[in-house]
């Protein structure tokens, strides 16, 4: 009897050790322990047509976030390593010595340090950011030329200051109009916008929420920017009276600094309209 109890206790203890070991995996690393060459940089900038743009950044070790079977290791900024969002060049790259006062004032309006954030705003943007991990965000006034730069300034490693993006140009939705009503089973929904633009990818995302039926999602890709996309009758799901929010997303990829091991810099123009839909 005594031998059996001892064996059982050993087995339980071993099982607990295995569980503890598995759960103690650290999914982040301090930035001062990682060289710039080991960092994969994911930056995205979103413009919804308002006065400000919103930027998100995530740094991961070696691999992009959200890779299948990959246990992401997020880089947490420490030891005075900083991420800066700029409308134009970062201040470390220019000289203003002939006009320090005016130049600094101008930089102050076009530069902002990105801070750690818990906000989750654009989950429908194609899974580029892993919202379970460390990430950084900032807002900046809308830039007229649509050019933005993300700079990683480091205390003990190589800076990476030249990740850049030129946003898709501003556009407006002209149809459907807010609060229009459509029958999901009988009506064709035509989405119109202008101006059109080359070299952008376009996606249409529609989230339908119904009083008694929860949420339904629709996602489609527009092959060419011709200013129009049609949703056939019977495509949208839902039951009863629902609200359908249409998000039209124009996206363009930018370039990441060559000091990183890899990166993905994307700019998104998003325009939205909420309509009513019935059976």
């Amino acid at each position: 009897m005594r031998i059996k109890i001892t064996t059982t206790r050993i087995a339980i203890a071993s099982l607990l050790l295995v569980v503890v070991a598995a759960c103690s995996y650290d999914n982040y690393v301090a930035s001062n322990e990682v060289s710039t060459r080991q960092i994969f940089a994911t930056f995205q900038i979103v413009d919804e047509g308002g006065d400000q743009i919103f930027a998100e950044a995530q740094l991961t070790r070696d691999l992009p976030p959200n890779q299948p079977n990959n246990r992401d290791t997020f880089v947490k900024l420490e030891s005075d390593d900083q991420l800066w969002l700029s409308a134009g060049e970062h201040f470390s790259q220019v000289s203003i010595s002939d006009d320090l006062f005016g130049g600094l004032k101008e930089f102050n309006e076009t530069q902002i340090q990105m801070r750690a954030t818990q906000e989750i705003l654009y989950t429908f943007l194609f899974g580029t950011i892993n919202y379970d991990g460390d990430r950084y965000a900032a807002r900046l006034p809308h830039s007229e030329n649509g050019q933005y730069q993300v700079a990683l300034i480091r205390q003990h490693h190589t800076d990476a200051t030249e990740s850049t993006i030129t946003m898709p140009i501003d556009f407006e939705l002209s149809a459907p109009l807010a609060s229009d009503t459509y029958s999901r089973s009988n009506d064709i929904i035509q989405i119109d916008w202008a101006p059109v633009e080359e070299n952008v990818s376009i996606k249409v995302e529609i989230k339908t929420s119904c009083l008694n039926d929860g949420f339904h999602s629709y996602l489609d890709t527009v092959e060419m920017d011709e200013g129009r996309h049609t949703i056939d009758a019977g495509v949208l799901e839902g039951e009863g009276h629902c609200t359908s929010v249409i998000n039209l997303v124009k996206s363009r990829l930018g370039s990441f600094d060559s000091a990183f091991t890899g990166g993905r810099v994307a700019g998104h123009q998003i325009r939205s309209v909420a309509i009513n839909t019935t059976d």
Binding site: S97, L100, F101, G102, E109, Q111, I112
Partner: protein
């Protein structure tokens, strides 16, 4: 007249024409504190101060010393980003002034040159710096105390184009003469 006397007379005459002092009426130390304001919109005033030596002779004052024109900070109320930017100006100065006596006070008008280093930073990060030679005007009122060995003064300096901005510097201070 002997050659030596002739030489001394010539030197005296030349020196008086050039206002070169032969005998110091007053040698002293001054310290001033005040404010520094930039003429570029959006900057808050900074605390300023200077420490220097002076030599006063026959109503002319010659001053030299160090000046700290302060950390002029960008007003965060005007900044949509909340960044804290500031410019710190430090330098040395040389100044000549002429004193007009209106007992019991004196008015001194002068001008000089500021040799300064200005450093700009944003959120604690260095942005750029500039070395400058800037002219300035100085106007002050002096009231002597303690038998003339201590003077109280208040004045105003106007620095022209220090690293891209004119700076004005009102101040009050003390002179101690020996």
């Amino acid at each position: 007249m002997s050659p030596i006397k002739a030489l001394v007379s010539t030197l005296l005459c030349a020196a008086s024409l050039l206002h070169l002092p032969l005998y110091a009426n007053e040698v002293g130390v001054e310290i001033n504190v005040g404010l520094s304001n930039a003429d570029v919109e959006g900057y808050d005033a900074a605390t300023a101060g200077n420490l220097g030596v002076l030599w006063h002779h026959q109503n002319w004052s010659y001053r030299a010393g160090l000046v700290h024109l302060g950390k002029l900070e960008l007003s965060r109320d005007d900044s949509s980003n909340g960044n804290y930017g500031h410019i710190e100006v430090n330098g040395g100065y040389l100044q000549i002034g002429h004193r007009f006596n209106f007992a019991p006070i004196a008015l001194e008008v002068g001008g000089g040159a500021l040799l300064s280093t200005s450093k700009a930073s944003l959120d604690g990060n260095r942005v750029d710096e500039d070395d400058d030679v800037s002219p300035y005007l100085d106007l002050r009122i002096i009231k002597s105390l303690a038998g003339g060995h201590v003077g109280l003064q208040g004045g105003f300096r106007y620095f022209v184009d220090v690293s891209g901005s004119d700076l004005n510097n009102p101040y009050v201070g003390v002179i101690v003469s020996f």
